[in-house]
Amino acid sequence: MPDRHAIEALILDAVRLLAEDFELNALKSPTTHSPLYGEGGALDSMALVNLIADVEDALTEKFGVSVTLADEKAMSARHSPYRSVAALVDAVIERMPS
């Protein structure tokens, strides 16, 4: 099972690639603290949809795990799991098959 560090690296890579595709200057050199979606975040809903799908694909490709990030828990959470890179890392770890 990948550790937190590996998941963080995977998400940062995905954000970087997306920032290039969508020409999002604020996210071209992302850190774990970078806001993503919502308050202060640079992603619009279409970019977010792409990022979530990219991260799910990369998790399957790199680690052979199938994780669904857009579940009911994510939709109803008080603090969106998509607000920052760190929050997204937490969301992936929480949903990793045990």
Partner: protein, 231 residues
């Protein structure tokens, strides 16, 4: 080789569509609850229920890892039940909504993810003339297809940025198992309400689907095309 996903390929219209697109040089990924009825080097069958979220996600993951992307989706799998509303059990209502609405939605969601990078994705959903004609005895079936039409129009907007078009086709009666139980008198009355009064044929459906799939149709989305001059 381009990949087209077609649901409900074991028999009926879906089977004919699969054979047509295999003949046209596509790779076809089909599915149904039952076993494959098509044998072809470029055909791959997934035995699943379209309303089973985990199974649909697993199919999408397999297609992603084996083929990378998908160019088109035909949401053909569908069921009907012809019955007076007062004689329709809730379990039937659930079954119809699960297959026709949830199944269509899940395939749109999962396959759109695999179309993202192609910038030419095509989704064709299946409705019916029973909805615009407000056919008695088909309340739940028609309502489920009304939901499919609404999904079609809204997804057309939501997916436009990904350059995926989402349209629908509404066939008139075509001789398949779906309408086998409908009495002849009822069928004749229904056909009498069409501008062009004959049974539909699979080639009528293929013609409309072909039109939606064409490269040149990239400015056509959110549309519902009824056959036989029903409007």
């Amino acid at each position: 080789m381009k990949t087209i996903v077609i649901t409900g390929t074991r028999k009926g219209i879906g089977q004919a569509l699969a054979q047509h697109y295999l003949g046209e040089g596509w790779r076809v990924a089909g599915c149904s609850r039952g076993e494959a009825s098509i044998k072809h080097v470029n055909y791959r069958h997934f035995e699943l229920d379209v309303s089973d979220e985990n199974a649909v996600v697993a199919m999408a993951r397999t297609l992603h890892s084996d083929y990378g992307q998908v160019e088109a989706l035909l949401n053909n799998a569908g069921i009907a039940s012809m019955n007076h509303a007062l004689l329709t059990p809730a379990s039937t209502v659930n079954r119809i909504l699960q297959t026709n609405v949830l199944g269509t939605f899940l395939f749109c969601r999962e396959m759109a993810k695999l179309m993202r990078r192609t910038k030419t994705g095509r989704i064709v959903n299946f409705t019916t003339v029973a909805h615009p004609l407000n056919l008695e005895g088909e309340a739940i079936y028609a309502a489920s297809k009304a939901a499919v039409e609404s999904l079609t129009r809204i997804l057309a907007r939501e997916l436009a940025e990904l350059r995926i078009t989402v349209n629908a086709i509404g066939p008139t009666p075509i001789e398949t198992d779906l309408i086998r139980g409908v009495p002849q008198a009822k069928m004749d009355a229904l056909i009498a309400r069409q501008a062009i009064q004959r049974l539909g044929e699979v080639r009528d459906v293929i013609n409309a689907v072909d039109f939606y799939l064409r490269e040149e149709s990239n400015f056509i989305t959110g549309q519902v095309l009824y056959l036989g001059g029903v409007c």
